[in-house]
């Protein structure tokens, strides 16, 4: 029986080079991402304040965190923000995509207009909306000079409504992108199916409700995953638009973490809040990535 010959030098080299090439990226990611995640999680169980400290305190930071009204506010805001942001972006995105898919003249002009906000920094977006919504100089002031004296629009300065201005700016920035995702989905649908459905006598409304929208499932899923992960990570926009205010009215977990860690010197609590954010994103992203990468095999 054959002795399996040793592979020659070239073959062995070609087996090793790919792994060698991949290893710097992997090493960096393992250390600077996963190593750091472990370190941060560990810090969340310590008495770190201004600087990391290694006194083990168990779940104390977490129980403190859940008793903080500041954290509670940011979670409530997160709930309102995420729900409205995801719903509105999806609705606007889907609506615009369906409308644009009706052989619209000027589609080539409209599409980039819907999408350009995605190329901007949230800081720029925040700045533009901050002053536009400012009652002193923005929309309210303009309406007053135009003669509508009773017009009132001070949401950005109003504790009860400020969070909705964050939603507005965020939807403005991202909804065009969701539109592009749905449009790609619509364009991928086999036209013959639609023709067949029309032969069957389906009205436009039924065509969309029964045939087309159900086929956009993957686009819905992607949109949901992307939007929810963006929602949890929202930070810059709040900083630029409201700075978390008025008061704490627009604090989100990301801004909470930042201020507790870097300005209030409560690193342990900051780390605990970051860990919770990570868990939230992981619970959405990991199943998604798992299924995406699995299908490819």
């Amino acid at each position: 029986m054959a002795q399996t010959a040793e592979a020659d030098f070239k073959t062995r080299l070609q087996n090793w080079i790919p792994k060698l090439v991949l290893s710097p990226s992997l090493a960096v990611i393992l250390v600077f991402v996963y190593g750091f995640i472990l370190f941060s999680v560990y810090l969340s169980f310590t008495d770190s304040r201004l600087l990391p400290s290694y006194g083990w305190v168990g779940w104390e930071n977490y129980s403190k965190l859940w008793r903080l009204s500041h954290w509670e506010i940011s979670l409530t805001n997160m709930g309102i923000f995420a729900l409205l942001y995801i719903t509105l972006c999806t609705a606007i995105g889907l609506g615009l995509a369906i409308f644009l898919d009706q052989k619209i003249r000027g589609e080539g002009l409209l599409r980039p207009l819907y999408l350009y906000p995605m190329a901007l920094s949230f800081i720029v977006t925040g700045t533009a909306w901050k002053w536009f919504l400012d009652p002193g100089i923005g929309l309210e002031n303009v309406m007053h000079t135009w003669g509508w004296e009773s017009f009132k629009f001070d949401w950005i300065k109003n504790r009860d409504f400020a969070i909705y201005t964050v939603v507005l700016a965020a939807v403005w920035q991202t909804s065009g992108f969701v539109m592009a995702m749905f449009l790609a989905g619509l364009r991928g649908i086999d036209n013959e199916i639609l023709k067949a459905a029309q032969m069957d006598g389906a009205s436009n409304w039924n065509l969309y409700r029964r045939i087309i929208i159900p086929q956009l499932r993957p686009a819905f899923l992607s949109a949901f995953v992307i939007l929810s992960h963006l929602a949890i990570k929202t930070f810059d926009l709040v900083i630029a638009l409201t700075g978390g205010g008025p008061g704490r009215a627009t604090e989100l977990p990301a801004t909470f973490m930042y201020s507790y860690t870097f300005t209030r010197n409560q690193m342990g609590i900051g780390a605990a809040s970051a860990t919770i954010m990570l868990m939230a994103i992981a619970s959405i992203m990991i199943p998604y990535l798992y299924s995406e990468l699995r299908e490819k095999r």
């Binding site: 054959a2 399996t4 010959a5 592979a7 020659d8 070239k10």
Partner: protein, 370 residues
Amino acid sequence: MGFLDIDKATKSYGAIEVLHNVDISIEEGEFLVLVGPSGCGKSTLLNMIAGLEDITGGEIRIKDRVMNGVHPSNRNIAMVFQSYALYPNMTVGQNITFGLEMHGVPKPEREKAMHDVAKLLQIEQLLDRKPGALSGGQRQRVAMGRALVRDPDVFLFDEPLSNLDAKLRVDMRTEIKKLHQKLGTTIVYVTHDQIEALTLSTRIAVMNGGYVQQLGTPQEIYDNPANIFVATFMGSPAMNVVPAKVVMQDGRPAAQVALADGSPAILPFSQDNLAPYEGREILLGIRPETITDPDSADRKSSNTAELTNRIDVTEPAGSDTFVSMQLGGRDVISRMRSDVPVAAGQQFAFAVNMEKAVAFDPDTEMRIAP
């Protein structure tokens, strides 16, 4: 020892063995075709010869040199791929000489080799073009040129004609055969097309389920298929396989088959070795072209049987007419000259050349006669 030896080669992916103890040996200058349905392991075997997939067990030797673990570029082989795999960013000339360049052949020699090959394949005028600007047939030639220029010990072809349209495929088939005859190179050729296998090869390995079902010359494979799989895979239309019972008639074995109306017909065998099967069920294999009208029956045949049966369907196909009938409860196809007057529903006298008939064991599906 042959020129190319495949010695008990096996291939596994994890726990799944996809090739089982493949033994093939061919001499220098032979044209070996690996043929079988998709998933039979033929391409895997070719890739193992090329060194693109490693071998799990056994050995592959070229010119008595063990190739296990040898890098593809060090095996002195060349390969023509199904998609031709021409480098899209290089000109035809660069495509042809890339391998020589990688092996450090100096430029003047590369140029000379390129022009020789281009001349041989009549692609000189294409040398400065990019593959994207070529037709399917031209790409095919360039791919062969790239293989030829290396002057390898063994040429490997992986379904090279399957991307061409029907007419071009036939032309290129002839061209490959001419090239082989002219250059006398050793070729291993993978295809799922049994006609390609029969026309091109000097030796065929019919594969299925990771096993070599039969290794032989085209004639052996066609006339004496080792089992039912080979019998029905090779040849078009496929060999008819009919349940029959072995009976003795005038001291010789014969097959008793049921006609369309259920009455028996007796077809005497030419082979005496079926006598021990008397009274047993067998499967009778008859090629469509051996069932004809009595006038067209092969006069050299020493054993022509006749039966009269009802015609189900006739399918005129230009030069021939395919006539189907019920025999032993199965559809049986016969091939007539197109001028034979036949019509569906008609009772018709068929002549069966029993010299060419084969018999299979219904349990093992292996050939028992001749």
